[in-house]
Symmetry: D2
Subunit: 410 residues, 4 copies
């Protein structure tokens, strides 16, 4: 599976694909049967050998009938196992509602995406720490508003990219740790489940059991309280934001007029359909694409939250699925592209230095002004003589990175 | 092909699918070879029996290498026909650039989508004209800010929906008539083509020939002048806006507390996974979903236009493809859902009337106030006595519709 | 009046300001009284010497009470003229609703903004035609994906900018010509007006009279059919898109590493708060800002249209006012900044040429490949020898511009 | 100061107003002088009696010259105190850059807004806990997709609203605790400051001193690492999302066809300009407006982050200011409107009950189905007999609220 109009999409593999969402829905239904059995609704033996499969196309097509893919799936599963596991067929999905299954399945899919992104952020952070260390002394032009401003080092640029990656990782971690189970029953009262369990006494415990089994956080039904969705969307967008900034810097500084950075030269990559010898900065282009695309998707999730109404929204909920999936899947792709971009990034220290020398008058203008303010005599200086606190800032970034890299992560 | 997370997606069939985009790219390449042959670059006979096919997955996967799906496709096609049509393989794609092929292919796909939407708008307009006529006298509550305001007729509501459909159709028509060919060569100068044709003399004529062959409008290269993209995006969003409003009205007024409208009762549709007997307003829900989702997609296209730079953008261009396709495909789905919704719409005139009677005091408050202002005596009146210019407004809407419906359309 | 956080805001003057919107509302109310008098509701003499003013702060503060600024204004106006013009006070606003007044007032304000933008587009087009002509032969690097691609001329770049300006002007013209009056009465039935006029017979004529008096287009009530709003929003965004592209090119090519363009050097402009001698490309920065900001505003208008419900929306309508005003006002500012940017744009033809020479190998790679394909011998060539159809494309752009500039415009 | 087109704007008072931003910039400059004096750059006495004021209009107008309001302000302040405090004038702003001052000033303004929102969330939470307790037993219709689904209690609805408010409060708290100082000097190297302090040794300590003095968090320069901006934007939008949902429920359930809720009846509020006796749900309308408007603003902040480049962005940075201010200010307004809405909310328990009775067949359909599945006999039941775990869910919400309300907050 790949997407012709989102080059690189294959990097995400099946993550958050239709098939993965379907599998996650099957897992939710199956695990729920386990929980019902644990709580005595049906005998555990009735589930022996039970496995679920479903025809994706049929489920997808049937989804229009009920407005979501769950009802048709439940019908298909009941038919599927009616002969071999009639008791399971009888109790399948009881106590749940469509939104329980789909919301939970999406959380499982998003978790996989988030975990992949986390691993990639860790790889990026390691590489950026290395670039920061290596280029601590690589003098370069700091530019503001498109103009040379001060001397800096490329190490400090890498440290600032690193700072962004660490912020993204921290916030994504918080969001992933809060990914919740959704179980509320038909309208958030858990009434069906209470009926099955002979009263409300064990209801909350049963939902907690499901949460533990799926590795999600138990919380009250959030059918129309959608912060769980927007929170993960915001965190993923913070990731693409930070990669977008890296890509923007690479795109600019790898232009031949700058010559300061290059993407790794990879056979067959970056070519033009008509211009021989062209090497386009493909990874950076595709990362930038993802970064420019994500904010609108995250906004769509907030809009769904703001339009929520009743105990299930009549349309707003339905707007979440496509952008949430796109955000997650594209974040996985962009994460890996960024890791690869950084891994192969070629730093032309000599060009950075040459550019700095060429702009030295502008880069040292503040220094001269400062010295005049201080009443100090002019004295000859080079661009390396006005690097301010770059070392201290680099040390701080490396210390933060070391702590992050040293931590245990899933 | 369908999309699990966009119920109803199958209505669009292959329109704007990966396969359709690929086919359109093949058509562009093949037709361009015809043009080159017409202009003597290669002998016409060299194209005899030439047909193009390509492996979609392979092309999609290769797209990451060059950042778009064209380069890999050209390589594959050259390899594909090298043995049987070596001359064609030699001249394939010459004079074009990747963006020429992809932009043009997307225009062809969007045109198909737009034409389907146009046909659906026409169907909707006919049905709305019928509803307008039928319910010219069906008194109902006009509500503002969620409160009863005045008496109106459902015919006037239908007339206003119709007005929206006609505006959408007009604007879409304008946009579709302007859908352009993209041919500029590697960087918008048409230099490669000029070289092929032995000078710039026939260059413009050759591009016009291609435009005619493909049924698109010839215009100067628009590699980074993206109004053609935003214009069609705006027009499609105007369509989903107007359907969204219809859906919002249906969703509200089909609530049992209102009882004024119902979606057609269709066996198997609108059921719940847990609540027996529930009939959810599925079409309206899915239409509303599309309407809430489109503005962000159209904004993404404008953002790409605003971020355009150089003779081809390094990332902005790449952000257009997915939202343009989504807009087009979802518009086709929503168009047909709206047509079906309207076709089966059940108008509970008796409930409308009962609701109006129940609110008559509020609905006639302005009338009393007006009469007092005019110094007229109070006199008993019913809700039918204060319908203002509803008849004239209905006549005007029907006249506009009649003209539209009577026109020849593609 | 200016906005600290939108530098350059003062260029828009009072256009679409709170005061201007208030004035427009006063104009609508006053002109409506004229119409009522013409149709005999009140004697014309009752309006002799009538002038309206209102305290802006008081009206703004009172707006929360009814959710929009009109109700409070009407109360204030009635109080204001009760003593001097009691008959006018008696008939003031009768037949209208709040939305009639505010929608119409906003159309008047937007029209002023649109007209200012149109004049600016005309100025831009003239200047761009001049740049196109002047630099028809100024060879430069055409860049795609941030890499040198082909030789071009700066004249062709200017021609493409011009093409964007002309598209924007055309579409804005269409939108401005359709700016409508809003008159529907309390809930779109014109019932109050019919009561005032003794029946529905003259109702439509009265609204047409008001439309003519205000220079707006008569159309059926569009309280919840919001295409008139989204249409002008889309057209204004098409303007900022095209200016954004120009700014992006200027920002890049005025970087010292390119040296190809400069903003005019203006005393006191572009300085830094700490770096002596810095000349920031301020106009281009601020234009780019506007371009990146507009798509989200236009999307907000579409979202309001998609969320419309009933005969007046309970919240969606209210979301339109701020973004519509921001779009209009910022478009005026950006239009004038773009005109000024272009007027003063310094084209460093010698640097363009030098950059092209430096990149000549890359720029001529396609030519060599083409000649090889054609079986032609290699022959020495310069960047000027591979300009393709630049001349023809420039001629076409100039012809389109000449037609546009020659037309009569308001 | 108020905004005619954002009714209720006056509730925010001067929070984040132009004047407040200016004051915050003055505070930053003045406090920085203190820090410089502490570190020996200038004598402490040189600051005795120093106060800063500036002409807002002049500063705003001058902002176009440098693209931001700081440079002009610094010039004005130097001129302002040159005579009375020449030493202060000499050292004013030294070591800082425009972005340091504006970013920090905006953080101060946003903090004030955030703190006001926090206080309001606390008020809302208290009121919602009260509503939850009071209506624990108030049976009502739970609706999904616009249809009656199950019986619930209004207490559970209030508990779910409360859950949303607590999520918003938690996330806002996290964001507010991270609001950072911005000090990086001209290009993020702190070179100017190092020069002033005779070397980089004390540089970081000096910035930490400023952070403490202003109550902000010290962190590395984030001129183009914009997560601090997007994080607070996301958190504020999570607030408006949750209020939007409350407003949506109120708007729907206060319609006369439902009759279940009312806004408090306040003299002079909710009236129409033409319909006597109308009571529009003004607060809910205006809250919904804010909720529908916020996601696009937050997306604009992410877009700026994704477009960041160099050591200061050439346009992206400039797009942050207006939406950040609008988000903050509108959040304050909506927070207080929501608190007032909830405070005065009238719950028509008898109508809720009557609606539930009227829909009892639908509401009990799942119960019958469950009993049939369980092999239990049908038995007569009322809507109160199928409330599931509403009590347990309410207890959980109240426990969470109690903990939140009991905590110390700023």
């Amino acid at each position: 599976m790949t997407d012709l109009l989102w080059p690189g999409d294959q990097r995400a593999g099946s993550c958050c694909s239709d098939a993965a969402v379907l599998d996650a829905m099957l897992l939710v239904e199956l695990t729920w049967l386990d929980v019902l059995a644990e709580f005595g609704v049906l005998p555990v033996e009735a589930l022996a050998g039970l496995e679920f499969t479903a025809d994706l196309d049929a489920v997808a097509e049937a989804a229009e009938q009920s407005g979501n893919p769950v009802s048709g799936l439940v019908d298909a599963l009941r038919a599927h196992c009616a002969a071999t596991h009639p008791v399971a067929a009888h109790w399948l999905h009881r106590g749940l509602t469509s939104q329980d299954v789909l919301d939970t399945a999406l959380m499982l899919c998003v978790r996989e995406a988030g975990n992949r992104v986390q691993r990639s952020l860790r790889t990026q952070a390691k590489r950026l720490a290395e670039l920061t260390r290596t280029h601590r002394g690589t003098v370069a032009v700091a530019r503001t508003l498109g103009r040379p401003a001060l001397p800096t080092t490329f190490g400090l640029t890498a440290a600032s990219w690193l700072d962004g990656v660490l912020d993204a990782a921290d916030d994504l971690d918080v969001a992933l740790r809060q990914l919740p189970l959704q179980v509320g029953g038909a309208a958030g009262t858990l009434a069906g489940l209470a009926e099955l369990l002979g009263g409300p006494r064990d209801v909350v415990e049963a939902t907690e059991r499901l949460a533990r089994a799926l590795g999600l956080v138990a919380r009250p039904p959030w059918h129309t309280q959608r912060r769980p969705i927007t929170r993960i969307g915001d965190a993923l967008t913070a990731c693409t934001d930070t990669w977008g900034r890296i890509a923007d810097d690479v795109l600019l500084r790898s232009r031949p007029e700058f010559g300061e950075l290059s993407e790794a030269s990879v056979a067959g990559r970056g070519g033009s359909s008509t211009l021989p010898g062209k090497e386009n900065p493909v990874l950076a282009v595709l990362i930038r694409r993802a970064a420019l695309s994500a904010p609108g998707l995250a906004a769509q999730l907030h809009l769904a939250a703001a339009n929520a109404v009743d105990e299930r929204s009549d349309g707003a909920w339905h707007t979440e699925w496509a952008p949430l999936r796109a955000l997650a899947r594209r974040a996985v792709v962009a994460a890996e592209q960024t890791a690869e971009l950084l891994d192969g990034l070629v730093v032309h220290a000599e060009w950075m230095h040459a550019n700095a020398e060429a702009a030295s008058e502008a880069l040292l203008a503040e220094r001269s002004a400062m010295r005049a303010l201080l009443g100090l005599a002019e004295e000859p200086a080079g661009v390396s003589d006005y690097l301010g606190a770059t070392d201290a800032l680099i040390d701080a970034a490396l210390a933060r990175a070391a702590q992050y890299i040293g931590e245990e992560h899933p």
